[in-house]
Symmetry: C2
Subunit: 385 residues, 2 copies
């Protein structure tokens, strides 16, 4: 096991009806901004629960955060915050709203030039941010219990990320029942996103982190068992609760402690979203089987473990077990009604070249061994046509 230092101070309020508990977390006489997305919270009862809870507080709202939230939109929120002297932010939504909020609370306190630097300049250290809590409405990104944020600059089609302990939410409300009304594609995307989050922290090379391996497998198995059930029976509380809890755990940092991490599938996937606006999870489902195939020698031990422990596979040879495990992953994506080929989105050679050229230009070296360069990205995507 590798050395590590880690803390995750996010308070979780989990369960049906827990939105009303936020008043215990936000000091009264605080000037609050409620940030949300396209208005689905007005249809599923969440907006009403939030406004009921906030009776007695002074609060404003800022809506219109889009999926793959735009820098430009975030900066309008920053302006609003400064204008209204906002002291506390409440993010109500899925990963996009929470990611946007993390950037907004940091940018609101940023005094070292253009806030785009928070995303684009790796030397920037964020020193201050407004406090914020979240009310999660989609199980997917884990943003409700981590420090990560991914923001897209619309103008230049760049999708970049940042991370800082300063932007841990103070609390996150996880009420599984608010996910009953999600469109099936969002349920599916969420399960796949969480699945690939775990894979990025698990499918590397062994460092004898036995508990981390078992815990990662715990999350993967939960997603595989409960994911398809949520599509068939979307109002099953226990299924929604297990998926919500599993997706939070997929990226709250604990399974990454002491083990190597990959993240190449995400980095390649981000480019597919930036150029072609394919849903984030759908890009992961396209890319991951290719990463597994191209990196199968280096990732062999872990692919075999994934096959045996998570998919209960057995095979006559190691090669066969690797092949079966990659197929099992792709089949799982299909069982979530998710397509896994570039051609399913009418993409081909042109997209492959465009993405690998951009990665070439950036000089990226991805993966746990930093050996996935533009050449390898091309190879990965060629397999996914």
């Amino acid at each position: 096991m590798n050395n590590f230092a880690f803390v995750n101070p996010v308070k979780i309020l989990f369960g049906k009806g827990m939105i009303s508990e936020i008043t215990k977390e936000i000091p009264l006489q605080t000037n609050i901004l409620v940030i949300y997305g396209g208005g689905s919270i007005k249809k599923n009862g969440v907006y009403e629960q939030v406004t009921n809870a906030l009776k007695g507080y002074q609060w404003f709202e800022f809506s219109g955060i889009e999926p793959n939230p735009h820098y430009e939109t975030c900066m309008r929120a920053v302006e609003f915050i400064k204008q209204k002297n906002i002291e506390y932010v409440l993010a109500v939504g899925g990963g996009s709203v929470i990611d946007a909020t993390k950037f907004i609370v940091a940018a609101s306190c940023f005094d070292e030039g253009d806030p785009w630097r928070i995303l684009a300049d790796p030397t920037v250290v964020i020193k201050k941010a407004l406090p914020f809590g979240t009310i999660l409405t989609i199980s997917a990104t884990g943003s409700e219990m981590n420090t990560y944020s991914v923001i897209t600059k619309n103008e230049t089609q760049e999708k970049l990320s940042f991370s800082s302990p300063i932007v841990y939410p103070k609390f996150s409300v996880l009420d599984p029942s608010v996910t009953y009304s999600l469109p099936p594609v969002q349920t599916s995307n969420g399960v796949i996103d969480a699945f690939v989050h775990v894979i990025e922290q698990y499918l590397t090379y062994p460092v004898n982190g036995l508990l981390q391996d078992f815990m990662s497998e715990s999350i993967l198995k939960t997603l595989i068992i409960e994911g398809p059930k949520a599509l068939k029976d979307p109002k099953n509380y226990d299924v929604r609760a297990n998926l919500m809890w599993a997706s939070t755990w997929a990226l709250n940092g604990w399974i990454a402690c002491g083990v190597p991490q990959d993240w190449s599938t995400h980095m390649i996937g981000h480019e597919l979203t930036a150029f072609y606006e394919i849903d984030h999870a759908q890009t992961l489902a396209i890319v991951l089987p290719g990463v597994m195939e191209v990196l199968k020698e280096e990732k062999k031990d872990k692919i075999l473990r994934l096959g045996r422990e998570v998919f209960s596979l057995q095979a006559d040879s190691i090669d066969e077990l690797i092949k079966d495990t990659i197929s099992a992953v792709e089949s799982f994506f299909h069982s979530m009604n998710c397509k896994t080929r570039l051609s399913d989105y009418n993409l081909g050679e042109e997209a492959i070249n465009r993405i690998s050229e951009r990665i070439e230009k950036r000089g990226w070296q991805l993966g746990e061994h930093q050996n996935i360069k533009s050449q390898e990205v091309k190879k990965i995507l060629e397999l996914r046509k």
Copy 2:
């Protein structure tokens, strides 16, 4: 899954050589008290590492915390703290030293009468405590990442506990290599203690907390795989690291979220320690198989799950699988060179009566259904003669 609210803000510094990192966590110009036990830290190099790290700080030391730490000893430390205007405490040791430190930092700030009330009066709410960090030297209790403390009043042979979020350590250093020199009995006790911690939060009745079940099983499997290896190969870093991490996770609160808890084995075990000074873990190994046998109807679903998922057992009938699972648990304790019968400690009817009478007098109703009273305790202990 049940509703819950939970946060665990303890920062973990994990790995070889991490003791030197404590200077990043404790503000300079702080008046520190280092609390430790019987002096084993002077033999295994930990004391030296701590004193090296604390160069430049103003610090004092208080030693002599005993196993099953005494209230009387703790109160001497409280006096010392007041005398020297201590501002920060560093606990260096295992669960006993850390439990003692939690009580000491709370009692030092307690101004509502006799500090014994912190343990004995359930209406007391702790409002303040000195900040403290820990350097763990024994993998066992999980005290390094939770809010629990168990203290024994020597005078009256009472062993009582308290818990408060105020006594979360600010940080805990987990360096597996400092456990290389532990006597085998302490390695064994630690593994069994952690095992039973998980069992108390897992072996109840199902609430469809699928991820919690898988995570609990992850910890149990890690302990079963690595525990006996640590006895054979005590200086194997990976084995020690997995055991240290597993025992922290066994009681850091996360696997208890949203599920029922038992704790009857601990409550009965505490009495065996209070009256007869049997090591804490050894009492658990005596009591648990009895609890499983007497409660086997109510705990059936979870006992079967334990047998299948953790011990990979199969059997022709449910009754047989339950029997085999209870045997497997007892065999695991034996594989850790731990005895499991009252008679192994020359105890019998007299001890059984003494303990069940005390539980009768206290009116305790133990277990996840609060239905284990003195009668059932007697039945449990009769099976363990």
